[in-house]
Every structure is written in C-alpha cells, then in structure tokens.
Amino acid sequence: MTSVLKPTLARCLWTAPAFAALAVLLTTIARATFGMTPVLQEDTLLTVSYIAGGIGFIVGIGGFDYWWTWMAGGVLDPHDHSTHGAKSWRDYFLFNTDHKVIGIQYIVFTFVMFLVGGMFAEVFRSELAKPGQQVLTNEQYNAMISQHGTIMIFVFLVPIFAGIGNYVIPLMLGAADMAFPRLNAVSFWLLPVAAFTLLSSFAFGSFDGGWTGYPTLSEQSPFGMTLYQLGIQLAGASSIATAVNFLATIITMRAPGMTLFRMPLLVWANLATSALVVAATPFIAGAQFMSMFDREMGTHFFTMGGGGDTLVYQHIFWFYSHPAVYIMVLPGFGIISEVIATHARKPVFGYRAVAFSSAGIAVLGFSVWAHHMFASGMQSWLRVPIMLATLLIAVPTGIKIFSWLGTLWDGVIRMTTANLFAIGFIFTFVIGGLSGVMLAVIPFDVSITNSYFIVAHFHYVLFGGSIMTIYAGLYHWYPKVTGRMYNEKLGRWHFWLTFVFMNLTFFPMHYQGLLGMPRRVADYAPQFEWSNTLISISAFILGASTLIFVYNLIHSARHGKVAGDNPWGGLTLEWALSSPPPTFNFPATPRVIGGPYRYGEEGARHAIVPEPEPAVVEKTYAAAGDQA
C-alpha cells in the first residue's frame, strides 16, 4: 500500500483524479451559490479538471514534496540524494533531480512525441497521395494537421533541445548539476501533462485551427480547442522554467577559468536561446490565456463583436512564435559547432563571430514577427521595417554557415554518422535559409503566402535544420550517455535515407506552392497529383527510416562496442569524464585553462580535472528548513 503514498506514477493515479474532483466540486458549489445555470456546465468542469488534474499529477509524481516539507517546517536533510541519479530503468519513471537522468527523460519522451507527430503526418499524407478524399473527413484532416504541428513544435522540437542541453551543458561547464535541480524535474514532468492534454483532445473533437489556433475560427471549435490552449500553456511553463534554470546555470556555475569566451558554442547557443525563451514565451502564454478566456469565460479579447480584435492575437502569437523558430534552431547551431569541430579535428572557425551571431539572431529575432502577417491587413507601414529586419537576420546566419565551412576546410574530416548529419544539415538548412530570404520580400511573399511554398520553407528549416542537428547531437553524445558505440553502418543507412527522402518530401512543395496549391487542404487540383503522390511515398519512407535510428540506439545500448571515455577525442569537459559520467559528475572541480576547440595544437588542453583531494572538508549549508 505504501507505493501509492510514495512519489511514483502510481500515486499520480489517485492524486490527479482527486485534484480534478476537488476542482469540480468547488466549481459546482460556486456556480450553485451564484445561481449560474446550468450548474453542471460540461466545458467549464472539463477545463477546471484538466488544470487541477495537471497540478495533481505533478503533486503525485513528487514535484512538491520537498517544498511542501520545507513550508510545513519539516526536517530536511540537505545531503539527502535519494532522488538523485538512476540505478535502474525504473528510476527514469520517477521524479529525479539528476540533470543526466532528466536529460534522458526529456530526450526519450520528446522523441516518442516526434514519432506520434510523425504518425499524424503519415496519416494525412495518405489522404493527400491521390486527389479526391478517401481516407479522412475534413474534420479529421484538420485535426490531424493541427495535432501534427502542435505536437512537433511544443512537445518535441522546443523541449528536446532542453533535454540535450540538460544532459550536456552542466558537464561542459564543469558543474555538478543544474542550478535548480528540483525545478528542473518539475519542468520535465510538466511535459507529459502538456502532451496528455493535447492528445486527449481527440476525445473532445480535437482542435482544428492548425498549430496557430487563430480566432475567430478557434471560437467555433469543439472543446478540444480549449485543451490546445491549455496544452500550450503547460508546455510553455515547462519551457520558461527550464530556460531560467539554464540562464542561472550558465551564468553562475561555470568552473573556475571558464570565461564567457572559453565556453563551448553549444553553451553560447543555449544562453541565447534561454534568453529568448524567457522573454518570448510569456507572449504565447498570454495569447492562449486570453483566447481561452474568450472561449470559456465569455471575454472579448479577440472576438469580432464586443471590442475584440483578431489581428491582436496574430501579433501576440507571432511575437513568440517567430522567436520560437530560433528557439528551435539556435541550440541546433550550437550542436553543429561541437560536432563539426570534434569530427573535423579543427577549431571552430571564427569562434567569437559564431558566438556573437547567436546573440545577434536572438536580438533581431524579436523584430521580425510580423513577416508572418504581410497579407493580414495589418498597419501597412510596418511591413517594410519588418522586411528589412528579416533580411538582416540572414547575415548572422550566413556567418555561421561560412564558419562551419571554414571549420571543415583543411580539417581531417571523420565521416561518422554524427558528422554526416552535421554536413547534411548545412546543405538542407541553406535551402531553408534562402527560401526564407525570398519570403522576407513583401511582394513575393504576398503572391504565395499560405501556400505549399511556406510549408516547404519551414520544413527545410525545422526538419532540414532542427531535426538534422538533433540527430547529429544524439549520435555525437550517444557513446557518452550509454558508454557504448552505436552501429555506424545502420547510422549511415539512417542518414542517407533521411537525407534523400527528406529532400524528395519537401522540395517538391516549393513547386506546388509556386503553382498555386494552398496549404492545409485535404484535396487539390488535378495538376498537383504526381507531385503529391511523390511527396507521400517519400514521406512514408522518411518515416520508416526513423525506425532504423530507434533500433540502432536501443540495440547498441546493450550490444554496441564499449566506447571508452572519449571515443571522438573531444576536448570539451564532458569527454573528460567516464562514459556514462558518475552520478555527481566531476570528482573535483575542474579548472579551465584554454578555449574549448584547441584541435591541432600539440598537447593543448581545455581544462584540467584534478584528482579528488583525500580529505575534502565538506562545507555544509544550513538548509532553510533547519532549526536555527
């Protein structure tokens, strides 16, 4: 019986319903007291159940146990590390404060969500394979495309980078953990709640407004739309909490000697990204709150009558969602710098320029949101400045691309799977970047906006960009995380299938858009038949190639060759540790003595990890809960 009282998923099974029931009870009492009819209003009760149930889940898993004990004046042992580190696979299903465990929890969970979101894409691609409608009704089709976009962005692309950062960044900094380990764990556990909220909306008609959820269409949607709005807020809360954690960690927990310009570029990228997340995410949370209030509480933020304005939603939405593109791609840029430098055995070419370009993109990223709205009928004066700012972003992005080329040039390029993905990424991302430059130019954008050209562009950025970097990073750090090598042969198959069919899936979409095929449609003119059939077949193979990756990682974790501590000869600090790293990372605080990419210099070191001193006097901190 004690297992339902201890912080486990089993405890969630009763805490979440209990919280939901309590919320329903209180709401019903309130409605009855104020004479609202009907007393039992389905949408209202469902909304409060989801909110309270989500909190109940976090309570059940143990997210508040420590803080609750502290608030209640209980005795806390600051050296209690019982929730830190994983001894068996079961520990990955528990509340854990070890950044490495959380990193794996993030990566595995978000990757499962990637497969789910990918399945939705395969379903609607099967509808699009032939003209006419065979597989899905219009309602189901709209639900599929909306779920695909929302799941991919909010519970895959944004958080998986938080997962990779979680694992790698404290190691790179020479830190024992993230700055706020408990907050870190809570950030992770918010994600399953967000994903459940989004996916369970299928039971309530799902949502049908695309991933953008624009009013006034969202006001007509079934209850599932409220769950979309709630799900995004939960994922957003997770994202903000993680970003705060990264900022605190990177700013305050660098090892002695780790100056800003000795930080690995992944850390730089993460610093810029976290600043973006903290500043931008509240905007989408606000937009979704207001939109949800419009639906559930009868407010008029964005409704047509009553003084609301739908254009305001678009502005607020994109004020987050454009920076979000950089949130989903800047950490990937960081990964590429690490992977290319390590596998080409050369220092990153123009380190400072690459670091500053991340910061530049983060700042400029806030001045371009309205390029999604050139045809929306917004203030026309705003269009030209936004066009100029958007074009300007190509400059720091170009610096990065050329720097990676400069890094590869004259290197000794090892064609590992990780590096193949990094090199393939440069190719595909350049295409996405160039179509982005074209789309920034107002007259061209207005002539084809909302067409498949746009779909092609952002898939080249998010698949050809983000996902390629994710694969590069996962292959690169796989031996560090598991202590074993992945199978290179399978990795190469995975790369070539992904690369070829990614291009065959998304490149023809440019053509479709230019010829006048709108996005988000379940049927099309006969002239688009062959291109759609080609795209659908390619998309199925692309999806199937993911299974090779999954098999490779699972199988190699057991049966792969033992990797050793530093199979790639990396110089950054994570490679100075055993694979997998010990629970508390470094035996003694490392000392950083040089830059992170001193490849090719005889005997060059980035940092020294001293042997632990035999008698370290442990400094004890009075925990807040201790008796004074």
């Binding site: 006419g132 219009n138 709209n142 407004g209 624009y214 006034t216 269409l217 007509q220 047509m304 739908t310 080409a344 055995r345 050369k346 220092p347 070419f349 123009g350 045809a375 929306s376 009928g377 074009l391 190509a394 400059v395 170009g398 610096i399 050329f402 720097s403 080329l405 400069g406 590869l408 004259d410 290197g411 390029i413 064609m415 190719f427 350049v430 295409i431 160039l434 430059v437 074209m438 130019v441 007259p443 061209f444 207005v446 002539s447 909302n450 067409s451 053509y511 230019l514 010829l515 006048g516 709108p518 988000r520 379940a522 049927d523 099309y524 003119a525 990419y597 001193r598 490849y599 090719g600």
Partner: protein, 267 residues
C-alpha cells in the same frame, strides 16, 4: 597534395549555382501572368532565385570539395590545422550576404512601389467589395451603378485597375488569385484593401488560402467539381454588354439593390 585555390572554386560555385537557378526557372512553369503586377513579381522571383542559386552553389561546392579532399583515411590520426579564424575572410563573408540582402530589399521595394496602384485604383478603378464567408465569396460591386444579381464569376474588364475591399462574415479567409500573384486576408472586424491590374483576358482560379474551417478545402475553384466562382477577365466592350445584361435582368425581376450570394459552400 596541392592546396586548393579558393577563388577559382568560388567562381565555379557561382556558375554551378547560376545553372541550378536557370534550370529551376526554366522547368518550373509558373501560373499564367494575368496581371501587370504578376510580371514584376515574377521578375523579382527570378532575380532572388538567381542570388539564392549562387549562394547555394558556392556553399554546396565547398562542402563537397571539403568532404572529398579533407576526408580522414582509415586509422588517420592527423589533426586539422590549428586555425582559429581569418579576420579578413570573416569580414568578407559578413559583407557579401549583407550586399545580397540589400539587393533583395531593393528589388522588393521597387516592386512594392511600382505595383502599388492602390491609391489610383481607389479613385479611378473598379471598386469591388468582397465578403468572405464559410464557405464562399459574395461580391458587391459597381456599387453606385448597378447591382449585380445571379452573377457567378467575378467579371472584370481587362487593363483597368481594380480596387478590392475585403471583409468577412465569420473567420479569417484569404482571397488568392495565383494568376494575379495577389493575395489578401479577409480579417474579421476590418476592411482589408488591395489592388491589381488584370492584363489578360481569360478565366482564373480563386483560392481561399487561409484555413477557415471544415469547408476550407472546397473553397478553391481549381478543385474538380468545385462550385466556387472564378475570375473572368473580359474586354471593355464585353464588360459593358455584360453589365447591361445584368441591369436588365435586375429590372426584369423588379428587384432593387440586392446582391446575391454565389454559394460555394460544400455539403
């Protein structure tokens, strides 16, 4: 191994990129250019595709050459050159993209201003009011002259500027005529305006480009069996005849000031 000369490689990359762009421009036949603006926008597209192709060609060529030339051999323990950067080169590759995007901005600016016949169209051209709804378009034009009834297609005279006023009854729609390279949202609660100058007689598709709900797919005249109206551009003489017919038909029915819906709703 002889060191690779960077400048010749850049020139080859430029040529390769130009060829890639040329192939794309020739093979992808864009929709018919049925407005004055379409010509300018297509030229802008070709102009930008040219730049894009060149950048793509250079990056790809360097990437491929690097991979083949600097590839590690089996059991290769060499390390790369400890070069941390070359300042002049970094300056060059910051300035060149800057020049290219400035060129794109300039091109965009010129087309934006030249194509902007809105002010002129508003006063002297045909003013067409379109109300979007789920799931169709309702036209109301020649406002003070004639009320059009039973009109299916949007009939307009060739060579004269048209000024559109777009509104919506319910959600966001987007009025897109690919042959005109013209699109504008119909945004709830406001009147959006845009304009174009049809330059070719013919019938052109109208597409709702914005997800507007369950019938969005069907709000596209190019889909087989669609009952969504098209644009029919005719000569001035034909247009006058057509207007007279509409007028007569309206008087015959004894109707006044009614506009009829061209229903494109999908069952």
């Amino acid at each position: 191994m002889k060191p690779i000369k960077v400048l010749p490689l850049t020139i080859i990359g430029t040529l390769v990129g130009a060829i890639v762009s040329a192939v794309l421009i020739v093979t992808v036949t864009l929709p018919e250019q049925a407005s004055v603006q379409a010509v300018a926008i297509d030229n802008l597209y070709v102009y930008m595709l040219g730049f894009s192709g060149v950048i793509f060609g250079i990056v790809t060529l360097f990437l491929i050459v690097a991979v083949f030339r600097f590839r590690a051999r089996p059991n290769d323990t060499r390390e790369g050159a400890p070069v941390h950067g070359i300042t002049w080169l970094e300056v060059v590759w910051t300035i060149i993209p800057f020049i290219i995007v400035t060129a794109c901005a300039y091109g965009g600016f010129v087309v934006l201003n030249d194509g902007n016949v809105e002010a002129q169209a508003r006063t002297s051209g045909q003013v067409v009011h379109i109300e979007a709804y789920q799931f169709g378009w309702k036209y109301d034009y020649l406002a003070k002259n004639v009320d059009l009834t039973q009109q299916a297609d949007l009939v307009l005279p060739v060579g004269e500027a048209v000024f559109f006023e777009l509104t919506t009854k319910d959600v966001i729609h987007s009025f897109w005529v690919p042959a005109w390279r013209m699109q504008m949202n119909a945004t709830p609660g406001q009147v959006n305006t845009t304009s174009t100058t049809p330059s070719k007689v013919g019938t052109y598709e109208i597409v709702c480009a914005f997800l507007c709900g369950v019938g969005h797919t069907g709000m596209n005249s190019s889909i087989e069996g669609s009952i969504i109206p098209r644009v029919r551009v005719v000569t001035r003489a034909e247009f006058d005849t057509w207007v007279a017919e509409q007028k007569a038909a309206a008087e015959q029915q004894g109707q006044t000031a009614t506009t009829q819906t061209t229903d494109g709703s999908v069952a």
